[in-house]
Symmetry: C2
Subunit: 288 residues, 2 copies
């Protein structure tokens, strides 16, 4: 019998994970009520079977994966937990979202009180593509067996310790480096542009920080269309960090910056800031 996994939602990551599981012999089901047209289309393309209700989804599943923007994670857990409790208490709930350890341990506690299995997971890497995945799923929690079984279905699931929160802490630490640095770099590219020193700035980076410059120019153009999704993640990292030492404030700032970049991106090339970023990338790549 095929292994059946339930996934909500069908964003790029959710649909990518679904397609990966399906091409490795699993069946993936989802509920699409209230989801966007884009999510519906992604579910179809990935051959995900749509079921009408949460109860039917949970009855048929062996594991449930929550793959959502961070701000939606707790709400979905509250929606699905009573369904699992009533319909099928053996289903393991896996929260794969980029949330602070504080956020996920609060979620885990509600499952634990009811004796329901819960796994904290952190995804590092891009959405899997057909035929390939370089993406790691770190997991922590009391019983990881059900989730680790997905290693036989094309996922790279790696066990950390038994405490929910560890996987999320790892995800936060890592994303703080990569997405935090992109927020900084965006700030400095725009600051240099506003003060008309972009060329000298680029030359100085080429000379003394060629590695960082290469990283920035390869990552930043892909950030712009994703900035709106990173706002909530920066807020979670802000929560993750000790609030009285300034670190937390750095990521509160990064959240605001990504919000502003997302607004710029809506304007497209009408935005002088998007234009400045594009020019910076083009100049370094020798396109201008």
């Amino acid at each position: 019998m095929k292994k059946t996994i339930a996934i909500v939602g069908m964003g790029e990551m959710g649909a990518g994970v679904a397609a990966r599981l399906i091409e490795n012999g699993a069946e993936v089901i989802t509920v699409l009520s209230g989801r966007s047209a884009a999510s519906v289309a992604r579910a179809q393309r990935a051959d995900v079977r749509v079921v009408p209700t949460d109860a039917e989804m949970i009855e048929q599943a062996e594991a449930f994966l929550s793959i959502l923007p961070p701000a939606k994670a707790a709400e979905l857990a509250d929606r699905i937990r009573p369904v699992i409790q009533t319909a099928k208490p053996s289903v393991v709930y896996v929260d794969c979202n980029a949330v602070a350890p504080e956020t996920v341990t609060a979620m885990a506690a509600k499952f634990s009180t009811l004796g329901l299995p819960f796994v904290d997971a952190g995804i590092i890497g891009p959405p899997p593509k057909p035929g390939t995945s370089v993406t790691r799923f770190y997991a922590s929690g009391g019983d990881l067996t059900g989730f680790l079984e997905l290693n036989s279905y094309g996922l790279d699931v790696r066990a950390l310790g038994s405490a929910p929160g560890e996987a999320s802490a790892l995800k936060m630490s890592y994303a703080g480096i990569t997405k935090g640095f992109q927020a900084l770099a965006t700030s400095m590219v725009l600051g240099a542009n506003e003060h008309h020193v972009t060329e000298a700035f680029l030359n100085e980076l080429r000379t003394s920080q060629p590695g960082l410059l290469k990283w920035i120019v390869s990552e930043l153009p892909r950030m712009v269309p994703k900035a709106h999704r990173w706002v909530g993640e920066m807020e979670e990292i802000s929560l993750f960090l000790n609030s009285e030492r300034g670190s937390s404030e750095m990521f509160a700032g990064a959240a605001k910056l990504y919000e502003a970049v997302a607004a710029d991106n809506e304007l497209g090339s009408d935005s002088p800031r998007i234009k400045a970023l594009d020019q910076f990338f083009a100049q370094e790549k020798g396109d201008v």
Copy 2:
């Protein structure tokens, strides 16, 4: 006749620049009233000639370099400007400090009103060492001739445009990348440590971000003893960046973080955070 340059103060950068000029045939003079014992010792070691008053210093000098912590920059300009005006209006005042363009253009305006020459400079690189310097002095302002002459005395002075503020904007943009990223990395190393995921964090960085990890491990250990000096610079970068977009807030946070790291550093190995940072470096270098 020897070229005579006045420099205040005799921190590591000021004394390093002095020694560089001296070994290339210039004479360097300074005033040491109110400076620390360490500054006095550095001036002696560099063979800087000490003069008793600001007036004598300016009378004997052809150029004056201000090389100080950013918070002291405006105060020194206000102290030296009337001396230049009275004693020798031909002396060019060069502000080499890591301050925001807003800070330096306010300084420049006061000189300009009196018709006194003023150069905005930004230093990128470490203090010069005997026999060698990789450090760049970017300069902007109406008349750069006097400062550019120091290219004949072992400095690498590079002209930007005619507006004071440009050199500082470049310095801010660059330091935002390098020192901003070190603040982020410090935050994440400490966050990972607090949540007991350091080993998994290191492994993930080794796999997917080897370049950034190498950079972090080479830069961060040198940051710790300098953190106290970077607080003011982060505040200036915060001022430099557009305040309503979060970037400014990121650097206000970085300033607080460096303040906290400086306090940790006072405690030395009694500080659990310094211990955590040291362990992270040692683990990556294979020392443990």
